[in-house]
Symmetry: C2
């Protein structure tokens, strides 16, 4: 199977390549992109020999052209888009971080390519335009998130109409044992210390604010065609139950496993067969106890907000996401405190007007405007 | 759908009728049998209007003939067999308790009828002869046990060859918090006090000795074609996770729900669609904690024994089951102590010879001999 890997040097990109590495006769990496980690990209090029690569900056692209005269090299948005559709027989793995992931997904779908999706923004800000495109071009999305992969697996062989509820588990993130008062003075280092998963810094902060859980509810809504009223978050601090589906006969089917992103990645890449991937087996007798708790929407206001914004559709999700991306970035740079992330998000949703009739350009334009609005204030 | 219900007045029989009662335009009860609870049977006859009924004793049958001149009435083994194959378009629900359930299952399969199976003995003592019959006559078995229904559901849409392990959960029964020393003087009343499930008395004692878990491992081996080495019991005192399947990619799919036998019964009766049955939904946030623990084979020696006996095949499983049936019956009559159940089982397995080449008659004959051997000593 040919793979076009967008965001190769990030956490999901590298774990995708680990799955590829274990089965070299099955997988071929045709294209690879990264943002700016050029050293890592060079390592990967030498191991996987892609035909086309793309990076963010032109100057990096020029260096790569010199270093690898036999490989095609692109840069910027155009390069990323080309990497998505370079070979029309490939599957796209979209592990780009942030709103930059939307356009290449749209491009891939328009060319009828299936996309294994780790980029949350594609569905959070673009779900409304993506759904009709999938139908029109006969392309499929495969979730790479552990939660959505879990639900996708629980639904195997089932009828979607029999679904009563999707239950998305949440670890609660780095600050799950803190009260809201205690969140005032938390720092970047503590925020990046996730209890269960090793992930990129943006998603780790999203996990601490539980913005990610809100995004996952929006994604689940679009991936599985389930109304928001039938999607529930559930605190589960061990991250062993990755998510669940309750059917109309009150049967609940759950996906469990040790936290290892290679399981959902392998599931998507080998679908519909089970991967031969062998990580560490789950031993519940060793883990002994699993805990579950309701998500307190007052403690985690961004979860409720995401559901409300998801229901509003139009440009509101793009506004939410852009405000969050900018605010998290400002927090990581030490320019704002942790609780200010929420504050800026609420502010942007007040400030920017709704627009119901949306297009890819309108989404990307809103994304840019919101980010500028916040960055201009702090830079 | 026409239903032939064997063992109508027992716990599973009555819960099956509760599922039937909720969907009277879908289900028709064609035949009904019971052992000796004639009053209850009369109630059920007047509600469900079967065409044929059968009881154990001829004298009970004669009374019923007089009372219901428009219904055919049978008795004994022949009556039970006839009830299984009375209408060749029906599904058989076999909720008979004990080895008496084997012959009617065999009869149904030989007539190409599908059987929803709550009778454990069918596969425990007859698995070896049942498997080739199913293939020959194109009949199917549907599990009614919560554990096997859970596994059956977890396997929906999956390839059996991708199964790495079946994990069968066990509540631990009435004495799970007792040491073996403390088991010496336990009485019948305490033994019948199961923490999670309301079931018949035989199965409740089997749960306390965990003989039932051993039986379930043998049943799972035959139902799902999985070698004994790949079937594991796991203590889980809440009985919320009904069982699990680990696939070769280390994904674990689990079935969860509140303990309600009508869920697996409805699943089998409506298969392949999900039942509209609406029991109480599982609320994990309310349950808060799920516990898991290894099964200690020294604490529960009958589990290990069942696996060993299952592997030996031939007449050993029939010997094990008959010894257990007789011993549990003697315990319930107050004739032996709780730990004596195990002792008598081990004794019978020593006393009776193995025979590899088996038939239905040989199994039933062994069953009779072992029971007589024990009953003669105490009666």
């Amino acid at each position: 199977m040919k793979i076009q890997l967008l965001g190769a040097t990030g956490s999901i990109g590298l774990q995708t390549l680990d799955v590829v590495r274990k089965d070299p006769s099955r997988f071929f990496v045709v294209t690879m992109t990264c943002y700016k980690n050029i050293d890592k990209l060079c390592e990967l090029i030498e191991e996987f020999h892609p035909k086309y690569i793309s990076v963010n900056e032109e100057k990096d692209a020029l260096k790569l052209i010199e270093k690898y005269p036999n490989i095609e090299v692109g840069f910027g948005t155009q390069g990323l888009m080309k990497a998505a559709v370079y070979d029309l027989e490939a599957m796209v793995v979209n592990a780009v971080v942030g709103s930059a992931g939307l356009a290449p997904t749209v491009e891939a779908i328009k060319h009828g390519l299936n996309v294994a999706l780790a980029n949350k923004e594609t569905l959070v800000i673009g779900g409304e335009i993506i759904k009709p495109l999938l139908l029109k071009h006969g392309a499929k999305l495969f979730p790479l998130d552990s939660e959505h992969s879990a639900i996708f697996q629980c639904l195997k062989g089932e009828e979607y109409k029999d679904v009563h509820k999707l239950i998305i588990t949440a670890s609660g993130g780095s600050f799950r044992d803190y009260s809201r008062a205690e969140l005032k003075n938390v720092g970047v280092k503590e925020a990046l210390n996730h209890p269960n998963w090793t992930m990129g810094s943006k998603i780790t902060i999203d996990s601490a604010t539980m913005m990610n859980k809100g995004f996952e509810i929006i994604e689940a809504h679009y991936l599985f065609d389930v109304p928001y009223e039938q999607i529930e978050p559930l605190l589960h601090k061990e991250s062993i139950v990755h998510s669940m589906v309750e059917f109309k006969d009150t049967s609940v089917i759950a996906h469990l496993g040790l936290p290892d992103m290679r399981i959902p990645i392998a599931y998507a890449l080998y679908y519909p067969i089970r991967a031969p991937f062998k990580g560490e087996s789950l031993n519940l007798a060793k883990i002994k106890t699993l805990h579950f708790e309701e998500v307190d929407f007052d403690r985690y206001p961004l979860v409720r907000l995401a559901i409300e914004v998801g229901m509003k559709k139009g440009l509101m999700p793009a506004t939410l996401n852009a405000a969050n991306e900018a605010a998290v970035s400002l927090f990581l740079e030490g320019k704002i405190g942790f609780l200010k992330i929420e504050e800026l998000i609420f502010e942007c949703l007040e400030h920017f007007p709704q627009e119901k009739d949306i297009t890819l350009d309108k989404i990307l334009n809103r994304d840019k405007m919101v980010k500028e609005y916040l960055f201009d204030r702090y830079n």
